[in-house]
């Protein structure tokens, strides 16, 4: 069995052997959860991949959907008992998600990782349980993984706070629990497919139906293999079920890792290529399975290569991190650095973030920055000045990402779309206009503005909006045709559809 998941536990330091059957059972469980050695680079990479993805996911996708919280004055918490909480507002959800992303990226870098992981878990969990607006399965998965990551032995992993080389192996029940969580996910995903509609291919066919590129690929494969489309679809349904059962087993039995190391990422790449609109679930699973199942010799080799390649950088960064390592005597200076970074980062967010709720986002992130500089009696801090600079830089990066990935544009577009669906056309036009202001040149939301004007019985404004949409439209003939039809329709205001 691999070093990562097996590991002997004989002669455990600091743990006296118990007598009797119950004692032996407790010993066995203790060995299983607490004494299994895991390769440190694997857990460091896993932490980096998960929290870096979560940080970006929070800043891009989750911030974008904050406008949906409390819409129309109704909210449903995950459990009815939690409905006693007040209605969530887009502003507070945006603030919580901004700080969630910030803290997650701090864990990824290894800056105050345990406190940051707990903060990420709290900020994420609050919004998740507060409302069912975001109830994809991967939101639940993220929460469960966050709970486990709160208890991972962060202080032993590589990262900003650990300039010295980490030990080659780490131990901790939370690492084992991460494997269990993924195993449970795969196992029940397979159980859900034990359904006549899945096994006879109907559900898979329905899944593929709106995706002609998948059907074309299936037909090409069918021609090559000499089998029909439906046989291939049934085959795909069974393969998915069996693959998930195999991956569940691999999570708990490391002998299967070499197989899963190749198969699992490919399985999720295949799912992602089908464009199933499952947000970043595939990215999380590709990263996770690639690292989780990487055979130990490969981990060791990749780690060696990485050290060789990044050795020069490491040699330059380490003195920076070691410089001004602060002990208890300089606590006020450390705190002042944190407050300075918080003021800079907070001011940039407050001034530049083109979203409502920017004040709360600035406040939450400012508090998070200061908390990483809060002096604890007797503790030392690695490179507080560079830590402060890094954190101020991360706050600025949040604003840059919001602009770079059209997060604010998406935020206002989704908000407007919801208002339009609810028949609040005038308000929707206002939100669409805010979205368009963020995209003065590119294709923007003039087509739905035209539809709103049409619904309000204002054909002249509708035609103007449609014409602007046509001017900015891509060369896609179908899209242009749709706009042209709308223009013709709006010019005949008596026509009702």
């Amino acid at each position: 069995m691999s070093e990562g998941a097996a590991g002997g536990a004989a002669g455990l330091p600091g743990h006296a052997r118990s007598k009797g059957v119950p004692g032996r059972l407790v010993d066995g469980l203790h060995e299983y959860w607490d004494e299994t050695p895991w390769l440190t680079p694997r857990i460091t990479w896993l932490r980096f991949a998960f929290f870096a993805l979560l940080g970006l996911d929070a800043w891009i996708n989750l911030v974008m959907r904050a406008s949906q919280y409390g819409e129309g004055g109704f909210n449903a918490a995950q459990f009815p008992i939690l409905d006693v909480f007040p209605l969530p507002t887009p502003e507070i959800v945006l603030g919580l998600r901004a700080v969630c992303g910030f803290l997650a990226l701090r864990v990824a870098l290894g800056i105050a990782p345990r406190a940051s992981a707990i903060g990420t878990c709290v900020a994420y969990g609050l919004v998740y349980f507060w409302s069912q607006v975001d109830t994809y399965q991967h939101h639940y998965l993220t929460f469960l993984l966050l709970v486990s990551f709160c208890f991972v032995p962060h202080q032993q992993l590589g990262g900003w706070d650990r300039p010295e080389a980490p030990p080659s192996q780490v131990r901790g029940w939370a690492i084992r629990m991460i494997y269990w969580t993924i195993a449970i996910l795969y196992f029940y995903a397979a159980i859900a497919k034990w359904d006549p509609l899945w096994l006879d291919g109907s559900a898979v066919e329905a899944l593929f139906a709106p995706r002609p590129h998948v059907l074309d690929a299936l037909d090409a494969a069918g021609e090559l293999l000499g089998v029909g489309r439906i046989q291939l679809i049934r085959g795909a349904a069974w393969i998915a079920l069996l693959a998930e059962l195999a991956l569940a087993a691999a999570c708990l039995w490391s002998r299967l890792w070499p197989l899963a190391f190749v198969g699992a990422p490919l399985f999720h790449v295949g799912i992602e290529s089908m464009a199933l609109h499952i947000e970043w679930f595939s990215y999380y699973m590709i990263a996770f399975t690639f690292i989780m199942f990487m055979p130990d010799p490969v981990v060791t080799r990749v780690d060696e290569i990485g050290r060789r390649l990044l050795g020069g950088l490491e040699r330059r960064v380490t003195p920076l991190r070691r410089s001004m390592t602060i002990d208890g005597a300089d606590r006020r200076f450390v705190l002042a650095l944190g407050v300075g970074a918080a003021l800079i980062g907070g001011a940039v967010i407050y001034r530049e973030l083109p979203l409502p709720g920017r004040g709360l986002a600035a406040l939450f992130i400012g508090v998070a920055i200061v908390s990483a500089h809060w002096p604890r009696l007797g503790s030392t801090m690695v490179g507080p000045s560079t830590r402060a600079a890094l954190q101020a830089g991360m706050a600025v990066a949040f604003v840059v990402i919001v602009y770079r990935f059209d997060v604010a544009y998406g935020y206002y577009s989704m908000w407007a779309n919801g208002l339009q669906g609810r028949g609040l056309y005038q308000e929707a036009i206002g939100r669409y206009a805010e979205a368009n202001a963020l995209k003065p040149d590119g294709p923007a939301r003039f087509y739905p503005i035209g539809l709103c004007y049409e619904a309000l019985g204002r054909p002249r404004e509708a035609v103007a909006a449609f014409e602007e949409a046509l001017r900015r439209a891509s060369d896609d003939p179908e899209h242009r045709e749709r706009i042209e039809v709308a223009i013709r329709r709006a010019r005949q205001p008596t026509t009702r559809y």
Partner: protein, 127 residues
């Protein structure tokens, strides 16, 4: 020892949460916490209509919530429908109106022509 108990409690909770979908939860369309990615349920075609007041006037619940929540109700998630109806009834009571909200939910399974009625407008769902 206590730590081991808590670790196993966390593990058992993770196992029981999806198991509850098959063992005791009574709403097959509420697939939260059950890891039912791409389950056949998502291909069911459901239709939902709301009626309120003594005259049972139909109304558009979509106007009262985020489209993301409404989409889940339209998929037939009954726990969410109950939460919405509860909020709506409370609002009617506060306004001094007779609390009467009815929901008609019908779904057709993939490949099935039979329409299944899950909630009928015959019953007032207000407590």
């Amino acid at each position: 020892m206590m730590r081991l108990v808590l670790v196993h409690a966390f593990l058992i909770a993770q196992i029981l949460a999806p198991a509850s979908y098959y063992l005791w939860r009574d709403d097959p369309r509420d697939e939260r916490f059950a890891w039912r990615m791409f389950s056949s349920m998502r291909f069911d075609a459901c239709s939902i209509r709301f009626f309120a007041g003594e005259d049972q006037e139909p109304f558009d619940a979509r106007a009262e919530m985020s489209p993301l929540l409404f989409a889940q109700m339209r998929e037939g998630r009954q726990s969410l429908i109950q939460q919405y109806v509860g909020a709506r009834c409370a609002r009617m009571q506060r306004a001094g109106e007779p609390a009467d909200v009815r929901v008609q939910l019908t779904c057709r399974r993939l490949g099935d022509t039979t329409l299944q009625k899950h909630l009928s407008r015959d019953r007032n769902l207000c407590p």
